[in-house]
Amino acid sequence: MQDSIVIDNLTKYYNGFLALDKVSLRVKWNEDVALLGPNGAGKTTTLKILCGLLRPYSGTARVAGINIVEEREHAISKVGAILETPEFYPFFTPQETLSYLGRLRGMDGSELEDRIKEVIKLVRLTEWAEVKIEKFSRGMKQRLALAQALLHDPPILILDEPSLGLDPRGMVEFREILKKEKKKKTVFFASHLLSEVALICKKVAIIDRGKLRAYDDISKLKKKYRSFEKAYLKLTEGAI
């Protein structure tokens, strides 16, 4: 069985600017890996390619063994994603939004209804389920984003700065949800918060200026550089 995420020599340019430079890494099934790096390092670009929102200049990206460029729809059906700060259609309620996305993912009937209730309860939006999203704060939208990512119970979660906009309680609750989910799912998430990464993941891929600088267990990096923070600073030296 192939690894859940396989990135091989991935290169991406934005109008001549090299955003990703031959990045390669593999994430095993049910592994939780954080993609860590300073602003503009290439974290979001990597995740967007994995979700089929960007095309790589060269190299390949596979999700659940499926090439994301060649079989985008098939590959993306295995993924639940939160990318950047997602926005929702303001005139829909969470119930309608999840119903729309669930149907696009092949869910229907009581299975979909029950699952919508379940994920809405999980992210603590039950009281807001029938309220139009135009009234939502950023944190509430982030909770809804997590709900839609979990809706179809995908084997792989790809999350970009997932705790952005959450209040302290929201961040704790989010970590608890993720800790539970990662027991049965692969979690690949980007962040620039060392503390958050250390609390959620065992393994980290440090990326800087489009290059993969390190890919190892946090415990090993701590041992090698004396602390996780020092490891990060050393490996991203020269970053803005």
């Binding site: 089929g52 929102l53 098939h74 993306i76 997602p86 005139f91 696009l104 993912r105 839609q148």
Partner: protein, 279 residues
């Protein structure tokens, strides 16, 4: 789940989006107001007589259900501009407002998303056109005791025009960064650029039958009333006013031209959307 089933889902929710927006009801209210006002002005101010006052009596067209329908439904066609407002942001807003981060990472082809959005925009525009034509038909029945047979043909051409205008808006929406830019670009292209080219061709002595705006003029052609004459100009049918050719639009040819615009621009918008990256 087949792509056709996904298309039904996309269309349903895109239509729901259109119906939840105030702009739909605004466009509907404005259309009803304009049509009712036009009917009121036509009858209240005796427009057929006033507009044709400078034409020799032998050339005047007497008031009839066909002339009434020509006036009123030519105004009803303004409802098609609503299509621009429904369609201008259909694709661009997914990128501009970042809703695409939720919509695109789903197991559905972008082609299906664009087609679903297109059908929803078309249904919303068609609904407003139906209301406008029903009011016109009702008024014609009330005033003249009949509904002109040409009204159905006019309505079909109006739908074809709406379809091509939506395609034009989709093409701009697929390539431009902002929804507002796409809407303005569509309006300028349809109302200014096409008009300038059509007029230029007319002055040069070429019939611009293949231009979108000129083909759209065929909305009034099924009534069989010479347009230029009815609106106080010269006798229609290929004659000129100050060098400007006043060729009557052939309804069948114009309908075909509109379908070609609709199809070609729609295919272009799908191609552009499929290539567009969510940067």
């Amino acid at each position: 789940m087949s792509e056709l089933e996904k298309l039904k889902v996309v269309t349903k929710y895109e239509l729901l989006k259109q119906l939840r927006r105030k702009r739909f009801y605004g466009a509907l209210a404005i259309t009803v107001l304009v049509v009712v006002l036009t009917i009121g002005l036509y009858k209240g101010l005796d427009l057929p007589t006033k507009i044709q006052a400078n034409i020799p009596a032998t050339l005047r067209i007497p008031d009839s259900a066909n002339l009434f329908a020509l006036f009123v439904t030519s105004v009803s066609a303004l409802a098609i501009l609503g299509a621009v407002f429904f369609s201008g942001d259909a694709i661009a807003s997914e990128f501009e407002r970042k809703t695409g981060y939720i919509l695109f990472p789903n197991p559905v082809k972008r082609t299906t998303l664009v087609v679903g959005k297109y059908i929803a925009c078309f249904i919303a525009t068609a609904a407003i056109l139906v209301v406008a034509y029903l009011i016109s038909a009702g008024a014609s029945l009330g005033f003249y005791g009949q509904v002109p047979g040409g009204m159905l043909g006019s309505f079909v051409i109006a739908l074809a025009l709406a379809s091509s205008v939506i395609s034009l808006a989709f093409a701009f929406s697929a390539v431009l960064k902002g929804s507002m830019g796409a809407t303005i670009a569509t309006l300028l292209t349809y109302m200014v650029v096409f008009q300038v080219i059509s007029s230029g061709l007319s002055y040069a002595g070429y019939s611009p039958w293949f231009m979108l705006d000129r083909a759209g003029d065929a909305i009034t052609a099924p009534y069989g009333v010479p347009l230029a004459q009815a609106f106080g100009g010269m006798a229609g049918g290929g004659q000129t006013i100050g060098g400007l050719m006043q060729a009557s639009s052939d309804p069948a040819l114009s309908f075909f031209v509109l379908l070609v615009y609709a199809g070609a621009l729609f295919m272009l918008s799908i191609w552009l959307t499929k290539r567009r990256e969510m940067i």
